[in-house]
Symmetry: C2
Subunit: 407 residues, 2 copies
């Protein structure tokens, strides 16, 4: 049997998903892989036989260094969900024929929940047909919502971005001698890991956000307004970090509650607003009568490699390498997880866990890490998240902007 390896990337991009690709490639190479292939556009591309040869693309050291500093999925991505092998084996027959054709002994798949589901299904089908091909999942998601791992690569860099940008926004919001409320909207539809990371803006030089709204806590407008009003009475510039996934007690996302309040914009037109932060900002303005503005941190949270956490980059690289090593050691149907050995000093190692136990589950912020009033996080959250944003891996700047690599 040949000893070729194939690696793919799937789901939403992160700042460090390519570090995991670099880790897979370098380790597979050093453990004696034949060829190392990449799937273009994940499993979806593989089904169309769109393979690339990573030895050609990443053969020299500088490409690896640039790859580690390039955001988003170098190989392209997909959001393709395989059917259950028990119900429809068509794509499996096709994929295993390709594994055979290209002499693939190991399949590494870098992604979040859906990607772990893909690995789980492939390994289940592989067992059924007694295939020697090994399947290992490499975790990746800014959402940090995978089970059985202390955290996910991608989260630390997103958290560092959120904390840094929020600090800059807080400085920006405090320049005028007037009362104002700033609402920053942070990603995360179902779990508050990213919104909670706003607490990391706090330090000796910054109060951090005054309130943090998480998807885990139903939004109660009157309680919220009372808190904002009370904060306004004792500080000029109130800062609120709100998850895009905040919902009312009846389960409606705030971002779907379009505000059409009568306020006129700078040009005398009626303002029609949508989005969680816009909704909250309008609510505050209408009910409390103070200046309020909304800022969406948007897609930059997942692609700001220029502000990556070095801890995150290193761990992403390590889980990629550990995945290749596990495959070479004969493991299959596993996901590489991060296990925290100690908090201060922070130490973390990799281990492999049963991918079937990870797929399709979501890890939320523990309720005892949320403040009693539901509008902030506790010191336990900060202790958990702080080590993940430490240290930097600066871009390689060429002509004033970070240099990237792409296909």
């Amino acid at each position: 049997m040949s000893n070729n390896v194939i690696v793919g990337q799937s789901g939403g991009p992160t700042a460090v998903i390519n570090s995991s690709l670099a880790g897979v490639y370098k380790t597979a190479r050093s453990l004696g892989a034949g060829k190392v292939y990449g799937m273009k556009y994940g499993i979806e591309g593989l089904l169309k036989e769109e393979l690339v040869d990573l030895d050609i693309l990443l053969g020299d050291r500088m490409s690896i260094e640039l790859l580690k500093r390039t955001p988003s999925s170098f190989l392209g991505s997909c959001r393709y969900k395989l059917p259950a092998p028990e119900e429809d084996s068509t794509p499996y027959v096709q994929l295993f024929t390709l594994f055979d054709k290209y002499g693939i002994s190991a399949v590494l798949y870098i992604g979040g929940n859906d990607s772990m589901d893909t690995i789980a299904k492939l390994s289940r089908y592989g067992q059924k047909v007694a295939s020697p091909v090994r399947f290992i999942g490499v975790p990746k998601t800014i959402d940090n919502d995978l089970c059985l791992t202390d955290h996910t690569p991608g989260y630390g860099s997103a958290a560092k971005y959120i904390a840094t940008i929020l600090k800059e926004v807080i400085r920006d919001s405090s320049v005028y001698d007037i009362r104002s409320v700033t609402v920053a909207e942070i990603m995360g539809r179902h779990a508050g890991w990213l919104a909670g990371a706003a607490c990391l803006a706090a330090g000796e030089d910054c109060d951090g956000p005054d309130l943090i709204l998480l998807p885990e806590v139903p939004f109660e407008p009157e309680k919220f307004l009372a808190r904002v009003d009370e904060l306004q009475s004792r500080k000029s510039n109130v800062i609120i970090a709100a998850s895009e996934g905040v919902r009312t007690t009846d389960g409606t996302y705030l971002c779907d509650l379009v505000s059409t309040a009568g306020q006129l914009d700078a040009f005398g037109h009626k303002a029609i607003l949508s989005g969680t932060s816009r909704y909250l900002s309008e609510l505050i303005h209408d009910r409390l009568g103070c200046k309020s503005r909304a800022i969406e941190f948007s897609t930059l949270q997942r692609c700001a490699s220029h502000l990556a956490s070095r801890t995150d980059v290193t761990e992403a690289y390590a889980v990629g390498g550990a995945a290749a090593a596990a495959a070479f050691a004969g493991e299959s149907g596993r996901m590489i997880a991060l296990k925290r050995m100690s908090g201060y000093p922070y130490q973390c190692v990799t281990e492999s866990v049963d991918v079937q136990k990870v797929a399709n589950l979501e890890k939320k912020v523990p309720l005892d890490w949320i403040a009693p009033d539901g509008m902030h996080v506790t010191a336990s959250f900060e202790e958990y998240a702080r080590p993940l944003i430490l240290d930097e891996l600066p871009p390689i700047y060429v002509n004033g902007t970070p240099r990237h690599v792409h296909l």
Copy 2:
């Protein structure tokens, strides 16, 4: 007469406005100033006699280094417009009484158009009453719209931020094997300097934006859609950089044309959108039927010190220092300008110009720096802007985020 100096900051924040403050302080100190005062919240705070002692706040070297890396206005800001001294001398009488009381020999004011207007009026009034106080303006604006200076401090860092973020967004937008159009919304209500800076994303590793829409060119929907359609026919991911100041031929801002097109959002609700990029994105989706998304770069353009251009930081420091030096040399009613001596290698010096000729004027992008079809900039624009984003001044990171200073 005492030899005390007072410095203020005004208008919108930038990433490097505090470098100019550092430059004023250090030079005034080294040229033998008595006390160096800061106005809290600009002229508005000064009228309330809100002064701070910069020797106490910035007395040690590390504070200066942190100040250069802190975004937004350290002293606070205002948007206060003085009346014409010929019409109402009340605030002038008040201010000159304060100058006398605090032994002020020089007033340095860091800001944009309105701030230069303030300096112009103060020096006019000072001449009338034969005051020995000198008034010097220190230019600052991300908008780059001041006359008589090659460019303004603050622009280079905003341009570097825009170029870097756009590169990351371009990588982010190319991960899926589907056709899409991304519209990035960039600041600048009246001039296209910031939107034009999107061209700096282009390089060996990146195509940069396919189209750039500037406020200088009236928006023609059919011509625009035809161009997008043509681009879509030959590349998967089309990138458009649009100024927030783009207007229709009848002068209406696109951001005021709210789109209520029938598209449903992910939750089945009708989407109601506002903003330039949202409007364009919706227009493209409706008329061309392709996937389109809008990204607002928002306020981060002016406060992202973590991505400051070192060239910009250095120049901001230099104009601050030159302003203090000019005041000590007896000049008044002047603004410090930047004069480009050569492009490659880039060399720039400071000079002083008549502030009366700067106040209340706006510099737009020259029409011959705009592409013939009105939807991009020429090589001349890039040659002008590229040197301004070169080199970096990394933050001083503490516990994973940049350390700042504040009052």
